[in-house]
Symmetry: C2
Subunit: 95 residues, 2 copies
């Protein structure tokens, strides 16, 4: 499978990140999007949130490895990294 490998610290970080409903909402929006990716502005439109707060959450998600971000001119494209989420769920499933 060549699956994603998560350290204990990775899992802690992911768990902490998922503890915030707003971040889960963002992941859900990304997941519901055709390609699992979205412009930052589109996320801001869907969730009522200030740019600063959204930026903060996106950074957290990226630090946890749950999303990738890529700048395209002055726009940002956010991509969900499903394999990482899956790896985390597998990890918890072993309990």
């Amino acid at each position: 499978m060549a699956s994603v490998k998560l350290t204990a610290k990775d899992c802690e970080r992911i768990a902490r990140v998922l503890a915030e409903p707003r971040r889960v909402d963002i992941l859900r929006d990304l997941g519901a999007s055709p390609k699992g990716e979205m412009a930052c502005a589109a996320l801001r439109a869907k969730n009522e949130i200030t740019p600063a707060t959204l930026s903060h959450h996106l950074k957290e998600l990226e630090n946890a490895g749950l999303v990738d971000t890529e700048m395209d001119g002055k726009f940002m494209r956010v991509t969900l990294k499903r394999p990482v989420l899956k790896a985390y769920l597998d990890h918890l499933g072993k309990i």
Copy 2:
């Protein structure tokens, strides 16, 4: 399947509870135990923790529906509720 049904609030609560490594450790200990149950004192022995803190975490786990607790005389038996954990993972897996 007749699986456990989780509301959005349930999921939020579970996610918040899982954000704390010590609580995940407790779940892991329970899961590794033959019957998925353990005495409170045994948990205290495995994890270095004061009674007050353990009591607090167990209550959080119980509130989230992840464990059941039952008093047996002056001892306490803690039981892992795997179906709830599973339901939460399924929920996240839909992302």
